[in-house]
């Protein structure tokens, strides 16, 4: 027996009840409620009348007599429509993976893991994802979307490294060796000349007949190249280094959840399964088994502070406590004294809470953003400090209906969050890009304007600090016709939209600045063989694609 619905819950289901798109449990609960509630029955009558009216409208459309003619016209255009390679200084597709024989290379444990199938939550949002379009949207749903919307440098570290570390590589001297169909999820730099990137490789081309393999890239001698061999049937989402000799990477194993068909032509359906964690110590990546905090893993992100303290935000998907009750499962682990331990998420929120990003700068202190509904208001930001959570709601931020996807910390007076918000004015109802700054006492909305007439760009998915007062935010558009990608940047408190990307980009998964004048980014673009990452380099005030070789 499913729980009784409130009137509000019932009314929310009514459109889909009339459209016959509810689960049996939802339908049963809604129908039970309607038996006893005259007010909701009247509401149902409205939707019923509307459904009938909409059906009537269909009959006003003139009959279609031009299908065959239109098909011939379409067919004549097809040969000219194949996609082209994204611009690349190498002038060729991505290089094959190379074998890295550096000392200490290789992860500590390699295994092909296959476990029971389980359906992950799909977190597509604008998800997903300027593209050639929806195709990429879908691909990103599988790979990134929502999952890597806000990969960035989460704690700004002053450019001290730039003064003590080796000089930066010249853009013209940079190279990257990326396997075909490599997706880079995150980057962590320990100096302008040393860093790591993680992700995965989708084998088997578009059909993904072979499970994805983890990808670990090391940046040394001005070159990004694979480090060790990948682990089959697994992906890495996030990496964060405390120092050049210590860091963490997190990902998940994947399983094939496809349903076999008699003809054997069912598409493979790779789904994330179990948490996969690695610790970089003594020059090696060693696998570490953490306590089980979620039955499945949708996404995880790790952020370490320079002091060795760290945080891991784990999206465990959704669980059903009853057939029609869904609860999203997030876990936050705190690394302290050499141990990862769960931190209770004690926010006053409903089950609708979604957490998107975590950032930390100082020990025992972290920020989490997302959105959700509390018992009396809405959730936007939470701050953990020495055992206590402080949260801010929409009304406390002074913004209506914010959805926050990204957070970064530049210092005690610089906590920056990015996303979008919904508002009404004399011209109607709008969604607009949002950046807010917390100065340690109050939240202030930054002046971020709409991007011209491309009003579909309104979600800022990533924010990264170039300096304490100069930041970049990156939208995710999911729109067909917005090449090149645009970025918002702050300069003296003013945000402007900049056509910054050297290639047509679907989304930006990670942005890291190693000094106030240099940075790296992992972008996703589309190639004829599917989506793949391109590494970008920021120097001399401009972004350029790192050539592959």
């Amino acid at each position: 027996m499913t729980p009784d619905l409130t009137c509000a819950e019932c009314r929310e289901l009514l459109p889909w009840l009339l459209a016959e798109r509810l689960s049996p449990a939802e339908r049963s609960a809604a129908e039970r409620h309607l038996v006893d509630c005259a007010a909701c029955r009247r509401e149902a009558a409205l939707w019923s009348a509307l459904a009938t009216t909409l059906a009537d409208e269909e009959r006003r459309i003139p009959p279609d007599s031009g299908a065959n003619h239109a098909w011939l016209a379409l067919r004549d255009q097809l040969p000219q429509q194949w996609p082209t390679l994204p611009p690349s200084e190498s002038g060729a597709a991505y290089s094959m993976r190379t074998t890295n024989d550096a000392p200490g290379s290789g992860v500590a444990q390699r295994a092909t893991l296959r476990t029971a199938s389980r359906q992950p939550r799909h977190r597509l949002r604008r998800s997903a994802l300027a593209l050639p379009a929806a195709v990429v949207l879908i691909a990103l749903t599988v790979t990134l979307f929502g999952l890597f919307g806000a990969q960035l440098r989460h704690s700004y570290r002053p450019a001290a490294a730039a003064t003590s570390a080796p000089a930066a590589c010249a853009s013209s001297g940079l190279r990257a060796s990326l396997p075909p169909n490599a997706i880079i999820g995150d980057i962590s730099m320990t100096s302008p000349r040393d860093g790591w990137a993680v992700g995965w490789v989708q084998h088997g081309g578009q059909q993904q007949a072979v499970a994805p393999t983890t990808l670990l890239l090391r940046f040394q001698n001005c070159r990004w190249q694979p480090f060790g061999e990948g682990i089959a049937a697994a992906e890495l989402f996030s990496v964060s280094m405390n120092s050049a000799t210590d860091g963490w990477a997190v990902g998940a194993t994947v399983i094939d959840a496809s349903v076999s068909s008699p003809t054997g032509d069912a598409p493979h359906d790779w789904e994330r399964s179990k948490l996969l964690t690695f610790h970089y110590v003594d020059g090696q990546w060693q696998r570490v088994n953490l306590p089980t905090v979620a039955s499945i893993i949708i996404f995880a992100k790790v952020r370490m502070t320079a002091s060795g303290d760290g945080w891991m935000l784990i999206d465990g998907g959704k669980t059903h406590s009853s057939p029609d009750t869904v609860k999203f499962a997030y876990s936050l682990l705190h690394y302290q004294g050499g141990v990862w331990a769960p931190v209770p998420l004690t926010f006053d929120v409903s089950d609708s809470l979604e957490l998107w990003d975590v950032a930390a700068m100082t020990p025992d202190d972290c920020w989490v953003v997302g959105y959700g509904t509390t018992t009396s208001d809405t959730f936007a930001v939470a701050h953990y400090h020495q055992g206590t959570w402080t949260t801010w709601s929409d009304s406390q931020l002074g913004v209506t209906y914010p959805t926050l996807y990204a957070v970064t910390v530049t210092g005690p007076t610089g906590v920056w969050v990015a996303g979008s918000y919904h508002f009404h004015d004399a011209n109607g109802d709008h969604t607009a890009p949002l950046v807010m700054r917390y100065d340690g006492a109050t939240w202030t909305r930054e002046r971020v304007g709409d991007y011209g007439d491309q009003q579909s760009i309104h979600d800022l998915m990533t924010i990264a600090a170039q300096s304490p007062n100069e930041l970049w935010a990156f939208p995710q558009t999911g729109h067909l016709s917005i090449p090149p990608y645009h970025m918002a940047r702050e300069s003296d408190g003013k945000w402007t939209w900049i056509a910054a990307a050297p290639v047509n980009i679907i989304t930006i998964n990670a942005v890291v600045f190693v000094s106030e004048t240099e940075g790296f980014a992992a972008a996703v673009t589309q190639t004829p063989a599917g989506i793949a990452s391109v590494l970008l380099h920021y120097a001399n005030g401009a972004w350029s694609a790192i050539p592959t070789s």
Binding site: E57, P62, L78, H122, P132, L480
Partner: protein
């Protein structure tokens, strides 16, 4: 699998998909593009060119129909913007109002009476919805997509779909409230 064949360059597979989906997509686009036939045909062509180019990216993670409607949504959005930029376009005003939604305070929950059940009046009221809200209603009622699928097609959070449906309802009620009852009954 049809999309895999299309991804491999099979024109016959694309033809099958085109003929299967053209009727419903044409209906979807008809409402989205104000019944502008040339525009609808152009959009249909754009959708299937996009399918041809991007079928390889389909991951069977969503239903094929959801995936195709996702493309259709963006094509329609582009087409509406192009229409809005025509100097003499009646769509200019409509496009400007595209994001407009009724003021929630104007209509309390449940504030409708039997008048709303007049379908003719409801039909007129539907004509006053912005494309965005009309689209959400159409995807649910005319095209049978679930909440999650509608959110995916529109590339918005599930909560936004709910709010658009809710706004559409309120807009309908507001339009109906502004319609003289006598006239409604006469029309009936």
């Amino acid at each position: 699998m049809l999309l895999a064949q299309i991804a491999a360059g099979d024109e016959e597979a694309l033809r099958h998909l085109y003929l299967a989906y053209r009727p419903r997509l044409r209906r979807y686009l008809w409402h989205q593009l104000g019944g502008d036939t040339p525009c609808v045909e152009e959009a249909l062509q754009d959708i299937f060119l996009a399918v041809w180019k991007t079928a390889g990216g389909y991951r069977a993670e969503a239903r094929v129909s959801t995936w195709i409607y996702q493309i259709a949504h963006y094509v329609a959005l582009d087409a509406r913007r192009r229409l809005a930029r025509r100097p003499d376009s009646l769509w200019l005003a409509a496009a400007r109002e595209d994001d407009a939604a009724p003021d929630e305070s104007e209509m309390a929950d449940g504030a409708f009476d039997d008048t709303v059940l007049n379908r003719l009046a409801l039909g007129d009221a539907l004509d006053h919805l912005t494309p965005k809200h009309r689209e959400a209603l159409g995807l649910v009622f005319q095209h049978g997509f679930s909440l999650d699928e509608t959110a995916r097609i529109l590339d918005v959070p599930v909560g936004t779909v709910k709010s658009r449906i809710s706004y559409a309802r309120k807009a309908l009620l507001r339009t109906l409230a502004a319609t003289p009852v006598e006239e409604v009954r006469h029309d009936a």
